[in-house]
Each structure stands twice: as C-alpha cells, then as structure tokens.
Amino acid sequence: MKLSFSPEDEQFRQEIASWLQVNLTGEFEKLRFRGGPGDEHTFPEERKVWEQKLAEGGWTCVGWSKEYGGRGCSIEQQVIFFEEYARAGAPGRVGHIGEGLAGPTVIAFGTQEQKKKYLPGIVAGTELWCQGYSEPSAGSDLANVKTKARFDEEHNKWIINGQKVWTSLAHESDYCFVIARTDPDSLAHRGLGFFLIKMDQPGIEVRPIEQITGTSEFNEVFFDEAQCEADDIVGAPGEGWKVAMGLLGFERGVSTLGQQMQFQNELDEVIRVAKSNGAAQDPAIRQRIAQTHAELKIMRYNSMRILSGQSGSDGGLQKEALIYKLFWSTWHRSLGELAMDVLGPECEILEDAPYGLSRLQSMYLFVRADTIYGGTNQIQRNIIAERGLGMPKEPKGAVK
C-alpha cells in the first residue's frame, strides 16, 4: 500500500500541467471553471473548439488504448490527468459522454465497423454524444423502457418511436445511444436493443427542460419514426440490457478523481467566502467546513481503493465502489447547503436579474439532482443492502 506516484508519473503531471498552462489561455481563458455539471449550458460553441484543441494535443481519450486512438495512459496517469485538468480549472468536457460512455461501450461490445465509424470522431473531439436511457415511466425502474425499435426489412433500417428524458447535451450532440424495445411483447430487461442514432434527422425533436436553476442542460428527446442504420445496433437485438449495464460499469472510472478536484474547487470557494465574511469564526460553521474537507479527502482515497482493486475478487463490484455514488452525492448536497449557510442572508441576492445565479448558488440548486440521477439515494441503498450485504431483494410490484 503506497500513495506516492513514481517519478515517471510526476513527469507526466508536469507535462499535462504545462500543456494546460500554455493552451488554456486567450480565447479559452473565459472557460476556466465553467461548463461543469449545473453549468453545461454555458459557452457550448467555445467548449466544442476547446475539445478539438485538447484532441490536437493528444489529451482526449487518454485512458483508451493506442489501438483506438487513445493515449494508452496507465490508471495512475489517468488519475493525474483528471486531477490536473480540474486543478487548472479547465472547462467541463462536451465530449465526456462519448469518451467515457459511448466509446468504451463500442470498444467493449461493438463490431470492427462500428469502432472504425465512431471512435475517431470521439478522439478528434468533432463528434459529440448524448445518452438516451431514462423515460417518463423509466426512472429508477430503468428497465421499464417503452421506446420501441422495429426493423424495417424493406429499407434495411431500425425505426425508433418513443421518448427519452433527462438527456444532457442532446441539443449539442451528433449522436445518441438509446435503449429501446426490439421485442414489443417483452417486459423489463428482456427484449431490449442498444442503438447508435444520428441526431440530425427529421424523426428526432429535442426540447430543453427548464430546471430548478432556470437554465436548461437536460432535454426531452422525442423519436417519431426516427431511423437507425441496420448496422448501428450494439450487440444483438435482445442484448441491450447487457450492453447498457456493462456501460454503467464504465461510469465509475477514474474520471471520479477529476470530479473530486472540481468539488475541491467549489470547497475552496466556500472557504474563501467564509474567510472574507467572517463565517470562518463561527464555531458551528468551522465544524461543518472541517467535516466537509475531511470527507472530501477520504473520498479521494476511497477512489484510489476502487482503482487499486482492493476487493471484489468474486467479480462483483467492490464494497468501496458500491457505496461511492451515495457517498459523493450526499456529500455534494451538504456542500451546497454549507455554501448557502456560509453566505448567510447574502445567499439570496442574485448577480443579475432576472435569475443570474452565482457559481455557488447554481451549485447549491444543481446538487439536488445528484442524489436523484444515476440511481437515487434510495435505490443506491437497496443496491448496497442487496449486493453488498446480501440482504433480501425488494419484492416486485404487481400494478398493471
């Protein structure tokens, strides 16, 4: 057990840090600390250009193998990359769904043709992706998908009908990966397919959802006889759930370390405010800041345990990975509350009319999504109890 990085890895840290120092300047200067979760709606065009700038430097898909155009970085180097990226305040990645989810899925489950067709655009930062999972009636019960895919023999295409919801970046994306029912008589996780669908077509309509923040980064996506090429199903019809679940595994990757560096930036801002307005002298606030700091520190080492693969030899998720979503989402929600309490009555005052939120105000509101999306805290507790502790599964309901 060792926490230090090797001299080679520290050399790598220098490399990415100085690249960012040189390149995150000029037209990109204004992107610093922007575009993260809760702030996805800002500077989309500039961030697309930034994505390509990163690609020119070879800094997209750093964890992918070189065979697929990645940088082939070790786990340690990926940790360093995401840390330095967030430390520099580099902007939220418009390409993160392609790099973190769509690409790895295609690499793991896709055909050679699909790899050739889709991976280069992700690596180059020129083709953006969004995720079509949730539906109005498929929230926590994700397998309750109603969107249908039927195969049109005559035109040799899949035809998609239905609605997805909570699709972030849908209006900026070139492609969407969608789970849809290929067998209309099937139930739950059986009879699903996993599709790669081009967004720019007449059968797709994107409608932004106005959120609690007054801004929109989530969307509804409507499919009305939308088309998908016959070759653009990943895995066989009926195997969509398996592919989708494999993808959920990728979501717990090293990028969590970068997310934590963003949390650190937010906490630093809270501390800066507390020092400047005197809240740092309040004993109760001091306790809460210290606790928030301690838990963020531990969060980092919890991630390192996950990455080092301490347990999970039975093939299941390691215990420290099972608790991770519940831990960070709850922590982040508390940070939002702490930020407002540090600001005091000033927390109410907006930067601009009619509803121009400051970074901390926006964070405070947006973190309420964290304990809901990607498995609510209640679903997380079910998963922990059932998979982590072997307690009985929830009975299935019988409502028709």
Partner: protein
Amino acid sequence: MEFAFTEEQEMIRDTAASFLAEVSDSAAVRRAMGTEQGYEPELWGRICSEMYWQAIHIPEAYGGMGLGYVELVAMMEQMGRSLLCSPFFSTVCLAGNTLRVAGSEAQQAHWLAQLCEGTLTATLAFNGGSSRWDAESITATWRHEGDGYMLDGDYRYVIDGHTADLLIVAARAEGTTDDEGISLFLLPAATSGVSRQWLATMDQARKQAAVQLNGVSLTADALMGEPGQGWTSLSKIIDLATIALAAEQVGGCQQLLDMTVAYTSERVQFNRTIASYQAVKHKAADMMLQTEVARSAIYYAACVAQEALEGGPLAGELREAASVAKSYCSDAYFAVAGDALQLFGGVGFTWEYDVHLYFKRAKSSEHLLGNGVFHRERLARMLLDKGEES
C-alpha cells in the same frame, strides 16, 4: 501508487483474524473485562511468544519484526473487531511509538528490546483531565534537581496505567503554557512517589487509570530528548496513536455491521425476516457506507503514518491525516453502534448480547485522544486560520 494491501499484508491480516476469532470470542472478552487487570496474562503471553504482535513495527535492530504502520493498522482493525482485551494499544501504539519517535539510541535499545521480548508492558500518560488532547492538557510539572529531575502532578485516562510496568509521562516546566517547556520522561511504575488507581469504566474492555506523581525524583537518563523541547515529538506520537485507534474503530464498525446483517437475516416478524424490510436495509446500507468510508480514511492515514515514521513526501500530512481519520471514524463507530443497537431491538439492550460491548467501546474510543469536534476544530485551524497570519 498502489492503494491496496500486498499479499503479505493480507496474510498478516487474515492470520490475525483467525487467531483472534479463536482466542478472543465473547466469553474470553467477558472474562477479561471483569477483572481489574483487564486482560488475561496467558493470552498476552501467547500473543507475545507465538504471534509476536508486540514487535510488529519495531525495527529489527531492536529485536522487532520491522514491518510498517500499514501492518500495524491492519492488526488494530482486527483487534477492534474482536474487542481483544490486551495491553497492545498501550504498550505498542502509545509507548512503542513514543520510544521510536522520542527515544535516544540507548533508550530504544534498552526498552524496545524488553518490549519485543514480551517482558514489558508500558503506556503513555500526558492528559491531566481535559477533553482537549493537546499540549494544554498537560498539567504535571518537572524541574531540575541536581543532575536529575523532580516531577509532580496528576494524569487521568491513562490506558492500562494501573498495570503497565513502564510509564512514559509528559510534564511541563513550571510556569510554562501551551506547547512550551514540555518534556517526556521514562518512569518505571515502581518508582517511589508514583501512585496509581484503576478507574472503573463504562467500557470495561479497556482499562483506564489515574496516576499521581508526588515528588518523583528521576535521574538524567530518564529524560527523552532535550529538556523542554518535547512537544514536537509528543504531538507526532499522539497523532500516530490516534491513527491506530481509528483503525480499531473501523474494526468495530465492521463487526457490528456483520452482526446486524446476520441477526436481522434470522429474526422473523410478520412472517418475514426483518432484513427484508426496506427500513432495515437502508439503515444497514448507511452502516456499510460509514464503515467503508472509515476504512478508506485509515488506510490513507496508515500510509501517511508510515512515511512520518520512516520518511517520505507525505510525512507532513500526519496531523491532518490523524484528524481526518479520527473525526470520521469516531462518529462513524458511534453511529453504526447506535444503529446496530436499534436494529437488534430488545435483545440489543441486554447484557447477554454483545452489542452493548461495542456500543460502549464506540463511546470510549470516541473520547480517547480527542472526539470528532476536537479533531474537526484542529482541521478548521489548518484550513481557516493559517491564511490570516500571512
């Protein structure tokens, strides 16, 4: 970076777990905790002669095993699981660390050798009766007398203080405050002027004592380090011991979680095991979250402690790591113990079931070496007050 146990470390942990399951079951704990001594000499003798745990992180030059703090922490975690009644924490984590950090070559050679042989138990006394486990808590005093020293004063909460062969005591020069004037002294318990009383405690599985020094006269070689310059070392020693104690707390969390899952999976009400109720599952999930987060905290702190002892880039993080670990683990242990007691229902309230032993240990270890509030305030000072000075 490799933040996982090596195969050897896993073996040490597993060996400890199976040995303790055999020798430190509920009956053994209850036998030992009912005595004033608080441990069974036969079992401590077996640990020292067969397992050699007392020597785990003592350098080989002094007869130790020369392993690191990660191994020590893994061991403490297992001892916390089984509530082992032994003078291990006092002898190894308090006194052993003190000798390693503050002892001269000669002092280490003399005392660590006996410690490793298993012929010496020892402890550290510094707190005069405060909830603040820092320099302020030291009220005993020392002064020069001839070539030697004269010590006076009181100590409370001294772990195994009534049974230890060797007391290492901290005292301050008369008239000094805060971290000035503090010295550490090696004080064989039989020295004239030392009196010791066992203090009966709610958590009977760990014994505490009060120690009084009345005109205790010591020769020059009893002093550790330079006179009055002891706080830097003592602060480091307390942090090291705090990390070991936090590891014990994690072991307690894990044991409570396992006991609770097993019990609720057997207990049937309304024709269902109570483990099938979501209200029970969700509480158990929270217990597991706290246990795993606490474990991540102590593994990190163990790596830092290792570098603090042997050198390394993380050595400077010791104080922070100790406070991060102890604040989280203390609160986690008490919360997990409270939840366990609740989920056991009526039987958890009985003397017969073991839940109360852990519930009591959770509270005693929370307040030993500083509770969550104390350690969070230490962190707050690092985070919020440093900038103002510059």
